[in-house]
């Protein structure tokens, strides 16, 4: 030991004492610096060493305060004050340090050099300290201690829930007081517990940011969901402390962190963080834990993050409805653009899970299985639409057929799994109807009626089906049942009326004239306003001819003619009725000739509309199909001549419907143009523009024009009160979705559907035509490059394609005009 002291002393003598102290100060070793400075200062007081001694005292003092050694700090502060402070830098810190050790009452010795600003700052600090650490406030500062006591009393009153008591305590504190910040803080705190956000903001918004009250308010603001500019580590620690006091654990912080990670799409970190906090969440509240799991798997599945979902499923408890995570993985696959995994595999496994899922009663399990089959069927239909709209130019008919077969299988499986779920039947029937398979659709409706005998839609659809097939007796049965269910409904009324007309026809053909007349009278009673319609009068007249009552027939024809401007429509109605009632051919020809004769007259809107309505609305009798096509051809001729007619809306609409029904699209579009010009507020004509564009196919349609047309149709149909526009609205929306399906870039999950040739958007993003850049905005060079790339993909010769395009006539749009520049 002695040798060590000697060595130290020897060492010291070798160095300048000032240098030695300075080195210790620089190192932050204030204890050693103070020790050495004291020794050397005692030996040779004054000069430079005194300066370093004061700095060493101050450094040591601050160190002790930081370490919470207040008593030692007080002793050192006393020594420093006894020594006296001469250094300006030390003097400037001294008040704060004295305040911290509760010796502010000894400050007057040094007060002479303090500025007003220093005084204000010290007063504020002293006030904060008096509230936060009252023990450090000298007993001599009675006034300060009294006010601080009041603030603490108010805080304790708030803690007890005694707001009145807290307000009483705050009354005495003026706005100019250094405790005013505490007053605002406590008022804000009361608002915090009341969840009065505006009051909270009003009070806490007034806090000076460097005051203690503001530091307390910051974590509370976060707890209340208010914005806080900076959220550092210290603030997070404070929130955790608050939560621990309020709830026992820091759950909110974990949730806020997870939320932030979700917002940042940092999926890997989400899973890692959940692994860390899951136990805390579960211990806190099992329901909350389950909700967080729902949120996380849902987010991962929605984003198609299959890998992360699999990792997550290893550490999280599965949802009650999905014990093996198959449903979650299926949804993730559906939303994934990068995985080849087929969601069907997971859905199939989930169907197996549902067999034994204890959480659901059997009926619900069956319904769930039905719903999944339906979901798969819709997926297949979407796939078929994607293939149909694939712009690659290859023949996808096999894929389409496969998708449709799968859809059919799924619809049938749905009906088997959930036999009481009516929407399953309705969607299946709609599928068959759209596939032009009315017999299967009728079977589905009949199946539904077995389970739900009063299903109105099934009854009306079946009635309609039988009307179209000409089996009036069956149609009538269903129409009567539908009418009983909804006696005031216009559509069921019309269906019953049509069925009665059909019934009259059937009876008339069988020679049962009285009953046929009764059926016609019944039809009149269902829709009395249509009793005098040209079509009905013609049917009645033809029945009378058939019943060998020419006088009656003549009278009916005369009555009908009186109501008409010209007889053309009536002769067509008579011709059709004569054919349907199977009059003798000579009689049919007689009316046919009269009609042809009348057709030569000047064209009229009402005549064209009336005839078209007759052809479209009258369901063809099976044996009269050939005649109907023949009459339709004659009617085209008439309609073609109607170029200078002043159209009535309903007539023009009937003409368009007729031309659409008989696939006369080029003629139809002429009338559509007229319709848009004359009736721009009618959505129907705009809709037809969109339909016509879609008919052109993915390589020829004009995207902008189609979208504009459907959007306009949707807008107008939504504002219309016409019941027909409700159906139009649905069709236009469907059309719009088809347009997006025709574009490259819409192949979601196409990687499992088409081969890479079809994937402009999947594999060669840099080469693909951008969905977001319209052709009109591209340069000729860019279009040329794109065109050549596309030809190369499809194995076509660009020159030949251009020749073909030129043969097809002039460019119709800006885009095609630009392509002319390629030649």
């Amino acid at each position: 030991m002695a040798s060590k002291s000697r060595k130290r002393a020897k060492g010291r003598t070798n160095h300048d004492p000032v240098e030695q102290v300075k080195r210790s100060l620089d190192r932050g070793d204030y204890k050693q610096a103070l020790k050495d400075a004291r020794v050397w200062y005692r030996q040779s007081p004054g000069g430079e060493l005194r300066c370093y001694l004061e700095h060493a005292y101050m450094g040591r003092l601050q160190q002790l305060i930081r370490n919470g050694l207040t008593d030692d700090a007080r002793r050192i502060a006393g020594e420093l004050l006894d020594l006296g402070v001469t250094e300006t830098a030390v003097e400037s810190i001294l008040p704060d340090v004295l305040l911290a050790v509760g010796m502010l009452d000894r400050l007057p010795q040094a007060q002479g050099r303090l500025t007003d600003e220093d005084h204000r700052r010290l007063a504020v600090k002293a006030a904060d300290q008096a509230v936060v650490r009252p023990g450090n406030t000298p007993a001599s500062m009675k006034e300060l201690r009294g006010e601080a006591k009041r603030i603490r009393a108010a805080l304790e009153a708030v803690e007890r829930g005694d707001e009145a008591g807290a307000s009483d305590q705050l009354k005495e504190i003026s706005r100019q007081s250094v405790f005013a910040d505490w007053k605002y803080f406590i008022r804000g705190l009361m608002a915090y517990y009341r969840k009065d956000r505006s009051e909270m903001e009003a009070n806490w918004g007034r806090l000076a940011p460097d005051r203690a009250a503001a530091s307390i308010a910051a974590p509370l603001k976060i707890m209340a969901g208010m914005p806080v500019p900076e959220q550092g580590v210290a603030l997070r620690a404070k929130i955790a402390r608050l939560e621990a006091q309020a709830a026992g654990q820091s759950v909110l912080s974990s949730l806020i962190r997870l939320r932030q990670l979700l917002a940042d799409h940092n999926w890997a970190q989400v899973v890692k963080t959940f692994r860390v906090v899951r136990q805390t969440l579960r211990d806190f509240d099992v329901d909350l834990y389950q909700k967080v799991i729902d949120c996380l798997w849902g987010s991962l599945a929605r984003e198609g993050c299959l890998d992360e979902l699999v990792r997550f499923s290893r550490i999280a408890d599965p949802p009650a409805l999905d014990p093996r995570w198959n449903r979650a993985q299926a949804i993730a696959c559906e939303n994934s653009e990068y995985y080849d995994d087929d969601p069907r595999v997971y859905w199939q496994q989930y169907l197996d899970d549902l067999e034994t899922l204890p959480w659901l009663p059997v009926s619900q399990r069956n319904l769930a299985r039905g719903l999944i089959w339906l979901h798969l069927a819709e997926d297949d239909l979407e796939e078929a639409v994607r293939f149909r709209g694939c712009p690659c130019g290859r023949d996808h008919s096999e894929e389409v057929e496969l998708a449709m077969r799968n859809a059919e299988f799924c619809f049938r499986a749905c009906m088997r799994a959930a036999p009481d779920y009516a929407p399953g039947y309705m969607l299946a029937a709609r599928f068959y109807r759209e596939e032009q398979r009315p017999r299967e659709a009728a079977e589905v409706y009949a199946g539904l009626l077995e389970r739900v005998p009063d299903h109105l839609d099934a009854l009306t659809e079946l009635a309609d089906h039988h009307v179209r097939r000409g089996s009036a007796r069956q149609a009538l049965q269903y129409a009567i049942r539908a009418r009983d269910l909804k006696p005031l409904d216009k559509a069921t009324g019309e269906l019953l009326w049509t069925s009665q007309l059909g019934m009259a026809e059937e009876l008339g053909r069988a020679g049962d004239y009285d009953q046929a007349r009764e059926a016609l009278a019944a039809a009149d009673s269902v829709l009395p306003m249509r009793a005098a319609d040209c079509d009905v009068m013609a049917r009645k007249a033809v029945l009378e001819i058939k019943a060998n009552n020419p006088a009656g027939a003549r009278s009916l024809v005369e009555q009908a003619l009186e109501r008409l401007e010209e007889p053309t429509v009536l002769w067509l109605a008579m011709t059709l009725a004569a054919s349907r009632y199977q009059l003798k051919l000579e009689e049919v020809w007689l009316y046919e000739e009269r009609w042809r004769e009348a057709l030569r007259r000047r064209c009229r809107s009402s005549t064209a509309g009336g005839m078209c309505r007759l052809i479209v609305e009258t369901p063809p009798a099976p044996q009269a199909d050939a005649e109907l096509s023949k009459y339709a051809r004659d009617l085209w001729g008439y309609v073609k001549r109607c170029s200078r007619v002043k159209w009535n809306l309903e007539d023009l609409r009937a003409v368009c419907e007729f031309l659409g029904a008989y696939d006369q699209w080029s003629l139809l579009m002429k009338f559509v143009k007229k319709g848009i010009r004359r009736f721009p507020e009618v959505g129907y004509f705009h809709h037809l523009v969109g339909v016509e564009e879609i008919r052109k196919g993915p390589l020829r349609f004009n995207r902008k024009r189609t979208i504009d047309a459907f959007q306009r149709a949707i807008l107008l149909a939504s504002a219309s009160s016409d019941p027909r526009d409700r159906r139009l609205l649905e069709e236009a929306r469907k059309g719009l979705s088809v347009v997006t399906g025709m574009l490259p870039g819409v192949h979601s999950r196409t990687s499992r559907n088409c081969d890479p040739v079809c994937h402009w958007d999947d594999d060669d993003d840099d080469e693909a035509p951008s969905d977001g850049v319209p052709f009109a905005d591209m340069t000729v060079e860019a279009i040329r490059e794109l065109f050549e790339q596309t030809c190369a993909r499809l194995g076509l010769d660009p020159e030949q394609v251009i020749d073909e395009l030129n043969k097809r006539g002039p460019a119709r749009t800006g885009a095609t005009a630009k392509t002319k520049g390629l030649v």
Binding site: K195, S215, L288, V292, D294, R327, L371, Y421
Partner: protein, 96 residues
């Protein structure tokens, strides 16, 4: 659209009668002429839950996202805000 269970403040296993009771209670609280937005929200939520098939369909195919966590956080905040914080704990937050 918010989670309908949250809107109606009912649990996922609520029965039909309780669901209807809760709906009527909320409709009385938010009449359409005074609170049209809340009324519409409550109605939409009820429509989603009243039909067992629609409810099950929603359960099967929904993939909840951040909105669930937002609701959880809001609920959590509300719960924590109700708990009184000890004065000493509050004052200890003054340390920077």
């Amino acid at each position: 659209m918010r989670d309908p269970y949250q809107v109606l403040d009912v649990s996922a296993d609520v029965d039909d009668a309780a669901l209807r009771r809760r709906y009527l209670e909320l409709v009385r609280r938010y009449p359409p002429e005074r609170c049209p937005q809340q009324f519409a929200e409550v109605r939409e939520a009820y429509e989603q839950l009243r039909d067992p098939a629609r409810r099950l369909e929603r359960e099967l195919f929904k993939a909840g996202g951040c909105e669930i966590l937002d609701d959880v956080i809001a609920g959590m905040r509300s719960k924590l805000q109700e708990r009184r914080i000890a004065t000493e704990t509050l004052l200890s937050l003054a340390e920077r």
